[in-house]
């Protein structure tokens, strides 16, 4: 399975994803410059965290209109998978690839801390290695991670099981206290209707080895790779 890690001016989790995929998972991976619209050689595209274009205007707004992001809907329609974490999630929302928006944290401050996530949907290519109701530990690091969408969109998200992760307590309770940024209904990650594009605020790449104290992020990568073993490739080439 070949991964592409997108680099925008201002991206900073690119090296961390690259390290986890190449050094820990031993999978082929390449950096993809934001001007490149050709994604034909990849199976999974990662939109990493950072401050693309300084997050000027709004977080992810400028990157959401870059050539590489404009190529993503076609890539996903052909069966490619897209994982947007942190700034990547913001970019996917700004590009309209995922519904809703990410607003300034309710505390009005940046937050870098550990969070717990409740797996709401374990049937996506990104979570098939988890159990529904499983609690994952993963850090966040953002100033604008408060998820919001209108009522109709929220209803659709629920009906179609598109809410993948919610912030919860260590024991799995979805409470206000467990919500680090004021997200609507504790939403931490959602997937598109086709189940090919995942956006989440937490950082799975920071929770992928024992040295970092948590390894739950690996479940997401292993889900992706496990799917590959079964299907051969995601791409309908």
């Amino acid at each position: 399975m070949k991964f592409g890690v997108v680099v925008f001016p201002g991206t900073w989790s690119d090296c961390d994803f690259h390290y986890v995929i190449s050094e820990l998972l031993r999978q082929p991976v390449e950096y993809v410059w934001h001007r490149s619209p050709d994604l034909s050689e990849f199976d999974c595209m990662i939109l990493p965290g950072g401050f693309s274009y300084g997050d000027y205007l709004r977080a992810g707004a400028i990157a959401g209109r870059s050539p590489v992001v404009e190529a993503l809907p076609d890539f996903a329609a052909r069966g490619g998978l897209v994982l947007g974490s942190c700034n990547g999630f913001q970019i996917l929302c700004e590009a309209g690839i995922l519904p809703g928006a990410l607003m300034k944290n309710e505390c009005l401050q940046y937050r870098c801390q550990s969070t717990h996530l409740l797996v709401e949907n374990a049937e996506t290519p990104f979570t098939r290695g988890t159990r529904p109701g499983q609690v994952l530990k993963m850090p966040i690091s953002h100033g604008e991670g408060k998820y919001y969408c209108d009522r109709q969109t929220l209803r659709t998200l629920k009906e179609r099981n598109q809410i993948v992760f919610r912030y919860c307590t260590e024991s799995g309770d979805v409470t206000g206290e467990a919500n680090p940024n004021g997200s609507l209904e504790n939403i931490a990650g959602i997937i598109n209707d086709e189940g090919t594009v995942l956006g989440l605020m937490p950082h799975p790449e920071r929770a992928a080895e024992g040295a970092m104290g948590v390894t739950d992020g690996l479940l997401i990568f292993h889900s992706l790779l496990g799917g590959l073993v079964e299907a051969g490739s995601f791409l309908k080439r």
Binding site: P9, G10, S13, D16, G50, Y56, P139, S141
Partner: protein, 741 residues
């Protein structure tokens, strides 16, 4: 082009912060009156900030050499060898003056400036630390300053994506008019890829890269070389405005351009901007430089040569490029959408020649601007008031009615309370190297591709230095090294930031001279070279100086990243030991300040030979896997160290501790002294640990056992503290947040 230069007079020179003597010296060296642009160059390059003219003579006392030192003071940053073909680049710098005038941008550009000092040397920055001092937290101005400074650091560091992994925050009313913002950065570079700030090779082109030049920050260096009077906020235009996004592009573009081998020398255009870079780079290499200003990218129209040379617009660099390889450099900067303009070339005549549209506006020997800057040895005098202050005996004060209440008050004191409110606003994990997060004695980062890790800390106690500048500064070095030892690391190098009032006052300069001597003595005894640093004089407002505050930034090495330690207790039943001497004092202690509002008395003695032995014993025990935790006893004394070991970790644990009777219970619990470490040792390692301590011949004793949900301390058999861990934790976790929220 319409610009006319005013005629230079003595009055104009004085208004530029130069003295009459210095002005005479300029005329003598040039053999004529300087032009207006030249006057600007001298005023910036001969400022205290750039020339260290009051401090240089004292700083020569610091030990700067060592087997691992690849670069000592005098460059953008110092460098030490880590082995495995890698080197660590380190530097600390103050941004005190701008942060008081405009806390958000002042602190943010402090981060930006120190980052550039690291990546100019070819290194990728991997960690930031911030040592902060604020005034009385009850003052609303303090709350404004702390929230501005913390959000400025957070904004810049988070946006550029370099983790902020440690630092300190302390409070004292002496910082009311002058907060301290000291930022330290470390970076990694392969030893064969180090780049220096030298203009080598006559005929090589000089490139201006990065952001465009504006009128912001003109004379920032001169501003930072004067004290504040009423209305300091009106100096806001001398504070620069940062753009971390542009800096991120500049960082990536510079490292990419350096990797091509086409870049021979780099200097940041920070303090004193183009003036500083274009004179220091040739001065270091024994060359000259000619610059044509019309090509300098500008964000405003009608800028004069004087303004372009002195602008401190951020996120800019001056590069010396190998002739014939200009296209490589242009290509890299074009990819990152940054300006890269050839603005001059290296010459062999030792002159800085500045032209605007071909017209010569300055011609000065680079050595005159740099090496020949005035050096002063101003008078020093031990202040008379110090005797009375030191003569005070804290044991003449009554003992506290309740040691439990005293302990809770100390844990909630803003200087000691948890700093989570601060560091949770900083990304401390990006780069996935941070093995020990903020909140332990030192941060620990792994070095990917090796088994090694580095430990980082900053330390300094202004109260100690006020009472005894020599010993207080030496103790800061000892404590920094002890914090590293508690993490399992051996010290590698120091970068120091010396924050003092006006050196033109003999009492202040005496404090400075004594403090430098104390740092030098401690660094010699512990064999830790000082490889870079910064002096921030004139940190006073309306004649009221800050506490003399030398801040010691220190880096250490762990050969095995796995053999690291943290400060908190981990196992029920583990034995607790206290390593180090019994000698403590309430003089200058946090207890004396928090409970009695006094800064007075004598410090406990510092024995550097003993200190070294204790640190070595602690490190050896950690390396041998015998310690579950190790925590330095510093501010707040043994009782606070024990409480922190109980509550600072992810799973709080109690302890039962029995201490021998001392002169007084408050002295035993809260007395402060160097060379003391609390460790916890699993039962199975107990005998091995005892044997090791005997071998090391250090003073130590078992004092208790980990377990339960309370911290219980008996002194001489009498129970003096028995508090639920949850109560200790509540006081400590909310102490700072309660004040600043």
């Amino acid at each position: 082009m319409t610009w006319a230069e005013p005629k230079v007079t003595l009055e104009l020179a004085l208004a530029h912060g130069l003295t009459a003597d210095e002005y005479d010296r300029i005329i003598q060296r040039l053999g004529r009156e300087p032009t207006f642009t030249e006057l600007g160059l001298f005023s910036a390059l001969w400022s205290e900030h750039c020339a260290y003219k009051h401090s240089r003579i004292f700083l020569r006392r610091l030990p700067t050499g060592g087997a691992r030192v690849l670069q000592g003071p005098g460059e953008n940053a110092g460098i030490v060898d880590l082995g495995d073909g890698l080197a660590l680049v380190l530097k600390i710098e103050s941004h005190n003056h701008p942060s008081f005038i405009e806390p958000f941008q002042g602190a943010a550009t402090g981060v930006g400036g120190i980052l550039r000092d690291i990546f100019t040397m070819g290194a990728r920055p991997i960690a930031l630390l911030d040592s902060l001092r604020f005034g009385d937290p009850a003052e609303s101005k303090t709350r404004y300053l702390i929230s501005g400074v913390v959000s400025g650091i957070s904004w810049y560091g988070n946006c550029i994506g370099i983790p902020t992994v440690g630092g300190e925050v302390a409070f004292a009313p002496e910082y009311n008019g002058n907060p301290l913002v000291n930022v330290m950065c470390v970076g990694l570079v392969p030893t064969d890829r180090i780049i220096r700030a030298r203009a080598e090779g006559v005929g090589n082109p000089v490139f201006y890269v990065g952001a465009k030049t504006g009128r912001d920050g003109i004379h920032g260096a001169t501003m930072a070389s004067a004290t504040f009077e009423e209305g300091a906020e009106e100096r806001r235009p001398t504070v620069q405005v940062g753009d971390p996004f542009t800096e991120k592009l500049l960082l990536e573009a510079c490292l990419e351009a350096m990797a091509t081998g086409a870049v021979l020398g780099v200097q940041d255009m920070g303090a004193a901007g183009l003036a500083c870079a274009s004179s220091e780079m040739p001065a270091r290499a024994g060359t000259g430089m000619e610059i044509e200003l019309s090509g300098v990218p500008q964000r405003e129209t009608g800028m004069t040569p004087y303004e372009i040379m002195l602008s401190e617009s951020q996120e800019r660099m001056l590069l010396v490029v190998a002739r014939g390889r200009e296209a490589l450099v242009r290509e890299v900067f074009a990819k990152w959408e940054l300006d890269a303009v050839e603005v001059g070339r290296v010459t062999g005549d030792g002159l800085l020649q500045v032209r605007m549209d071909g017209q010569l506006v300055a011609e000065v020997p680079v050595k005159t601007l740099t090496e020949e800057a005035p050096v002063y040895r101003k008078p020093t005098e031990r202040p008379r008031w110090l005797d009375a202050l030191v003569a005070f005996d804290p044991l003449t004060l009554a003992e506290p009615a309740s040691c439990e209440q005293a302990l809770l008050a100390l844990l909630a004191a803003p200087t000691l309370a948890s700093k989570e409110w601060v560091w949770r606003q900083y990304d401390h994990q990006v780069g996935i190297n941070t093995l020990v997060l903020p909140g332990s004695d030192a941060a620990v980062l792994r070095i990917k591709g090796t088994r090694k890790a580095i430990a980082l800390t900053t330390d300094g106690n202004g109260r100690y230095v006020l009472l005894d500048p020599y010993a207080g500064a030496a103790m800061a070095v000892a404590e920094a090294a002890r914090n590293l030892a508690c993490s399992g690391a051996a010290p590698l190098a120091v970068t120091d930031c010396l924050n003092f009032g006006s050196p033109e006052r003999p009492a202040i300069l005496w404090q400075f001279a004594e403090a430098v001597e104390g740092i030098a003595e401690a660094c010699r005894a512990l064999e830790i070279p000082v490889v870079s640093g910064n002096v921030s004089f004139y940190t006073e407002t309306e004649g009221r100086a800050i506490l003399p505050t030398p801040v010691i930034g220190m880096v250490g090495l762990l050969e095995e990243a796995e053999r690291r330690s943290t400060q908190w207790f981990k196992g029920v039943g583990d034995r607790v030991a206290l390593l180090g001497p019994d000698a403590v004092s309430l003089g200058g202690s946090e207890y004396l300040w928090t409970l009695h509002g006094r800064v007075a008395g004598r410090l406990a003695p510092l024995d550097l030979t003993g200190e070294r032995a204790i640190q070595s014993a602690c490190r050896t025990a950690i390396e041998a896997g015998l310690c579950a935790s190790a925590h330095d006893c510093s501010e707040g004394g043994l009782a606070v160290a024990l409480a922190e070991a109980c509550i600072a970790g992810p799973a709080p644990l109690g302890a039962e501790v029995a201490l021998p009777p001392g002169a007084r219970t408050d002295l035993t619990l809260f007395g402060e002294g160097p060379s003391r470490i609390v460790v916890s040792v699993p039962r199975h390692a107990q005998r091995h640990f005892e044997g090791l301590m005997r071998e090391c011949q250090v003073a130590w004793s078992w004092i208790g056992t980990v377990g339960g949900d309370r911290l219980a301390i008996r002194v001489g058999g009498r129970s003096v503290v028995e508090l639920p861990v949850a109560q200790l934790s509540h006081a400590w976790r909310n102490g700072l947040a309660r004040l600043v929220a």
